[in-house]
């Protein structure tokens, strides 16, 4: 790396640090008080997709399948790491529901142990409030082969089966 490149890289890192902030609504990374998604009036505010990390928003956005808004928890329940409900932004999520007229919450945490536990925790908390709470499906990779699926994945795929398209 030349010295100029090193200086440019260092400046870029400082610039990121100085100019990006967490969105005050959803805790996504943004450049102002509200992130680009929260500021976009065309997005459907009645559907909130709950993710663990801002990077997960990038992943969901790439699908172009989702037109609602997001909520970033900043982690998943994990007592080993000292993370309980107080450490992820559950209270902030609850505070958004009424003012934003949220009708559906999509639980989009990682399909691992901690992500599943977090999703289940949130579902039990949100459902009694009369919200429509959904969990993203876990299942077989598109283009995959049943024979090579592990039993957990295949089991989840069976649990989450749906009416066949005709």
């Amino acid at each position: 790396m030349t010295k100029e490149d090193a200086v440019r890289l260092a400046r870029a890192i400082v610039e990121v640090k100085e100019r990006t902030v967490l969105c005050s609504v959803c805790f996504n990374i943004g450049m102002g008080e509200r992130c680009a998604i929260c500021a976009d009036e065309r997005r459907d505010g009645s559907v909130v997709c709950v993710v663990e990390d801002p990077r997960d928003i990038v992943a969901v956005e790439r699908t172009r399948e989702f037109r609602g808004r997001y909520h970033v928890l900043g982690g998943a329940l994990s007592p080993i790491d000292g993370i309980g409900p107080e450490q992820i932004r559950v209270r902030e999520l609850l505070a958004r529901l009424e003012p934003e007229h949220v009708a559906e919450v999509i639980l989009c945490t990682n399909p691992n142990l901690e992500g599943e536990a977090t999703a289940m925790y949130l579902a039990r908390l949100l459902k009694p409030l009369g919200l429509h709470v959904t969990r993203i499906a876990s299942g077989l990779p598109v283009g995959g082969d049943l024979e090579y699926a592990d039993e957990l994945t295949l089991g989840r795929a069976l649990e989450g089966r749906r009416e066949a398209a005709t």
Partner: protein, 331 residues
């Protein structure tokens, strides 16, 4: 057969082969100790032939980074894919722990067997271990008090444990049923006794695990540990009605161990369609001549790699003899 003096690297060679099938050491060595002192990384490279199918397995070990696993130069993302490529059964002098030590050894034996016979159980086993750690830490953090947050989070960990734990328990019970006749007949042949082995899997709870976790929540909170689940179940081994752990002679215990390993080897072979590679690390050194001969006669068809610091076991006819010195093959 691999020969060489003590410290020549015989066990390390078997350990490398076994690592290539399970990504863990049968000596339970931490990964750091698999790398030679002064070196930054270790590599295991092996060619596996299964019928007409050949694969090249390469594993780069450079802790604390995760292992780099390649099969035919392609990244392998899940350990279970490797388990499906190479299977191994291992016999070591430390095996006596299987009979003599506490129930954990026998649970590990069953879980190793479960994963080897059905690699798809690997994520289930890992989930049980992880959820137990999470739940136990939460119980300690709770300090005996069931606040609303504690109750709500325990609920979700209980649910995860009940799912994965029940699946693991059922898999263990199925395997014990498959293992029993195979291990028992091997025991009869090794000992010339009429009585075979008795195996009994005993759960640590009655009814279903979800119910047991709910019923014992108060006790779990007070004791700050999970008192029901697959980690508290027991595999009881007996011969002629006598508990193998406490009531059998040392010689008989050794035969019980060998019979369990041979039975497990047969179970995996039947499930996988090909017998695993049999690794015998100094397995004959403690056996009397009769038992050693009986074991050699038991060695199933398929590949067996055995190490010895002394002479050949009686009756063994190796296809190839490799001599190790100072960690290198010299002949």
């Amino acid at each position: 057969m691999v020969s060489g003096e003590n410290g020549a690297g015989k066990t390390s060679m078997l350990e490398a082969i076994a690592y290539g099938s399970a990504l863990r050491s049968f000596r339970n060595s931490p990964r750091e100790s698999l790398v030679r002192t002064g070196a930054s990384s270790a590599t295991v490279r092996m060619e596996v032939t299964d019928g007409s199918h050949r694969s090249l397995v390469e594993i780069g070990i450079a802790p604390p980074a995760r292992d780099q696993v390649l099969r035919n130069k392609q990244r392998v993302l899940r350990a279970q894919e490797l388990l499906e490529t190479v299977r191994t059964t291992i016999f070591t002098p430390d095996d006596m722990a299987l009979v003599k030590a506490g129930p954990q050894e026998r649970r590990d034996f069953l879980d190793d067997l479960a994963v080897s016979a059905r690699p798809r159980l690997l994520p289930v086993r890992q989930a049980v271990e992880r959820v137990l750690r999470q739940r136990n830490v939460l119980l300690r953090q709770a300090g005996g008090r069931e606040t609303r947050d504690v109750a709500a989070t325990l609920d979700v960990w209980d649910d995860q444990l009940a799912r994965a734990g029940s699946e693991l328990t059922e898999a263990r019970e199925t395997l014990v049923a498959e293992l029993l006749p195979l291990a028992s007949s091997a025991f009869v042949r090794l000992t010339n006794l009429e009585q075979g082995l008795g195996l009994e899997y005993r759960r640590s709870y009655d009814g279903d695990l979800a119910g047991a976790l709910a019923a014992r929540r108060g006790e779990d909170l007070r004791r700050q540990m999970t008192t029901a689940g697959p980690h508290r179940d027991e595999l009881l081994v007996a011969s002629g009605g006598l508990d193998a752990r406490t009531r059998l002679s040392q010689g008989r215990q050794r035969c019980v161990t060998l019979a369990l390993r041979l039975g497990a080897h047969a179970v995996v072979g039947m499930r996988a369609g090909v017998p695993p590679v049999l690794l015998l690390d100094d397995a004959f050194s403690e056996l009397d001549d009769t038992t050693a001969r009986a074991l050699v006669a038991e060695l199933p068809l398929g590949q067996a790699i055995l190490t010895t610091a002394g002479p050949l076991p009686p009756g063994a006819r190796p296809d190839a003899v490799v001599e190790l010195r100072g960690g290198r093959i010299v002949a």
